[in-house]
């Protein structure tokens, strides 16, 4: 069975993005093992002369390395991803490169009606940058708008159409992960390239 890491892109105690990932964890239990990862404990990303990376970031990196794929749930703050998520991604690309060629499914929940669409669009561009180089599932988007009203008391999605949409997307993601495993001829080279790549080089 595939094992996925699910990153909660919010540091809020009652995050609806966490609720969404917990729902997925439970609901898709027969198909995959999903482990939730919190990023709230990481400090704000800071460059340093000795390229220091906090231990917690290294541990998250290890989990991602050994997983079959990553699910990210992002809130939308000011039309983009929260600083706390952006910061985590910076740590996870600073001398360590766990995302290279890793299949990623982007989801997101926000209080507004657009359900983090703009944040997700930016997140795609971020994950596509040279030191992350993730394999983002193409032409798919899961936007959970009005997220405060989206779940019932048992943490299930209220709207059946929305639940079906997510079922479909998750099925696609499983296939995407399988295809991705077959597309690994260049992976070694890609990894080496990234290891050698440095923004600091001229």
């Amino acid at each position: 069975m595939n094992k996925f890491i699910a990153i909660v892109g919010s540091n809020s105690n009652k995050s609806t993005n966490r609720e969404l990932l917990k729902y997925m964890q439970r609901h898709f239990q027969p198909q995959a093992e999903i482990e939730l990862v919190e990023i709230a404990g990481l400090p704000i990303f800071k460059k340093s002369a000795d390229k220091y990376v906090p231990q917690e970031a290294k541990e998250i990196a290890k989990k991602i390395e050994s997983s079959d794929g990553v699910i990210i749930a992002t809130p939308e703050y000011d039309h983009s991803i929260p600083a706390v998520l952006s910061s985590a991604l910076a740590w996870l690309s600073y001398g360590i490169h766990p995302f290279v060629d890793k299949p990623v499914m982007i989801t997101g929940a926000s209080y507004g009606s657009l359900g983090s669409s703009r944040a997700q669009a930016q997140l795609r561009q971020i994950l596509d940058s040279p030191e992350l180089k993730a394999r983002i599932m193409p032409s798919s988007e899961f936007l959970l708008g009005h997220s405060l009203q989206a779940f019932d008391d048992n943490g299930n999605l209220n709207d059946q159409d929305v639940a079906k949409e997510l079922d479909g997307l998750f099925k696609d993601f499983l296939q995407f992960v399988n295809i991705s495993k077959q597309l690994n001829n260049a992976n070694v080279v890609n990894k080496q390239k990234v290891e050698k790549f440095s923004w600091d080089k001229d």
Binding site: S12, I44, F45, Y77, D78, S80, E131, D202
Partner: protein, 400 residues
């Protein structure tokens, strides 16, 4: 024009900070740029609201009172650094200092692309409703290959780059002036007659409403007096000479600075002999202290000042009501003052009785006044009942 600069980096060494410091230094004559520090801002967290912490309040205040903001952004993973985004989150949650604020984006990075993607993201972020900044369109300033761009003094080496930066900055100054004018037109309510905001010339640490403010404040700044020379725009006078001169002006002058503080009047005589009665102990007072606390009066004062501050007109004039028309006709004039860059610097108010002037004119030209049977004179033309300020179109501030 007063701007603040934010370098979107918390690294110990940052080329974007170098760039901002260069802008502040090199264009000193053009703008006053204060570079802010974002190093100690805590991670944004909805559950732990630190809006009221000193570091965030300080940033907010600096941005609110500036005429515009320059943000220099690095690029991390095709977006703005988390540290910069983090600051914007705090400043778009419970408080919104960027609201309506003109912003110019610049950016430096190691590569030829020079932060272009981060700048695009930053535009989208700044235009989100909680932020609602007004970003200078076009005028992208990207400084690529930044490691080779500066000399050992932190100056940009390439003259063409400096020239381009100057053009961009000049465009931004014009843009900010227009934006600030538009966004301020209707908010006379925000005029703070208690003058607590302060401005760069406000004398700190002295109670402005104290009776001896003049002595205290003069001491505090070591003000010159007596026979010391003061160099003026077109003349050289001693302080005494200035006093002789101003006291014999044929009008009563009052200086109210841009912070709504009453800081000077030309004492032409004792209060009872004056058209607009002022006493020395009032000097230094905030405007709310020298006006009666009647809402109609306060509103009117705010409207007059705001009309001048926002440049809707340069001059407001009105007769002072209640006098005996056969003996005098006292007029009050309020004229906006500006510095060389067109920034509002306060009100020059003067009061003058025009009756003797008109009488003399009539006498010397052998004419007399007759009543106009068709005239519609507003009984309350003293404007004290009419809060709406009449804007004198011919003298409006199109120069700015």
């Amino acid at each position: 024009m007063k701007l603040v600069g934010i370098a979107g980096s918390i690294a110990d060494q940052s080329y974007n900070r170098t760039l901002l410091n260069f802008i502040a230094k090199h264009f000193e004559g053009l703008v006053d740029v204060e570079v802010l520090d974002i190093n100690d801002v805590p991670m944004f967290n909805q559950d732990n609201d630190q809006t009221n912490s000193a570091v965030i309040q300080n940033l907010s205040k600096k941005i609110s009172t500036a005429d515009g903001v320059i943000i220099a952004t690095p690029e991390h993973n095709h977006t703005v650094p988390a540290a910069l985004k983090n600051v914007i989150e705090w400043l778009s949650y419970e408080i919104h200092p960027f609201d309506g604020k003109p912003v110019m984006i610049v950016g430096a990075s190691y590569h030829t692309q020079g932060s272009s993607r981060a700048q695009l993201h930053l535009r989208q972020i700044l235009e989100a409703p909680g932020v609602n900044a007004v970003v200078l369109p076009g005028n992208e300033f990207l400084l690529g290959k930044v490691k080779e761009a500066f000399d050992e003094n932190g100056d940009l080496k390439d003259q063409n780059t400096v020239n381009f930066l100057q053009t961009t900055l000049q465009n931004f100054i014009k843009f900010a002036q227009v934006i600030n004018l538009i966004s301020k037109t209707e908010d006379y309510e925000e005029e703070d007659l208690s003058a607590k905001e302060g401005t760069d010339t406000t004398i700190q640490g002295v109670d402005m409403n104290a009776d001896d403010w003049l002595d205290q404040a003069a001491k505090k700044v070591h003000a010159v007096d007596g026979d010391t020379y003061v160099k003026l725009d077109s003349g050289l006078l001693t302080v005494n000479q200035l006093d002789y001169f101003l006291k014999t002006m044929p009008v009563e002058l009052t200086y109210v600075d841009e912070n709504n503080q009453f800081i000077y009047y030309n004492k032409t005589g004792s209060a009872e002999d004056m058209l607009a009665k002022r006493v020395p102990s009032q000097v230094g007072d905030a405007l709310d202290k020298v006006h009666p606390k009647i809402s109609r009066v306060i509103k009117h004062v705010k409207q007059v000042i705001n009309t001048l501050r926002t440049g809707k007109t340069d001059l407001v004039s009105m007769p002072v009501p209640g006098g005996d028309e056969s003996k005098s006709h006292v007029m009050h004039y309020y004229k906006a003052m500006h510095d060389e860059e067109g920034n509002y610097k306060g009100v020059n108010e003067w009061a003058v009785d025009i009756k003797p002037i008109v009488d003399q004119y009539l006498h010397e030209t052998g004419q007399k006044l007759v009543k106009d049977p068709n005239a519609e004179i507003d009984a309350t033309s003293g404007a004290s009942e009419k809060p709406e300020v009449k804007v004198d179109v011919t003298s409006s501030a199109s120069k700015h």
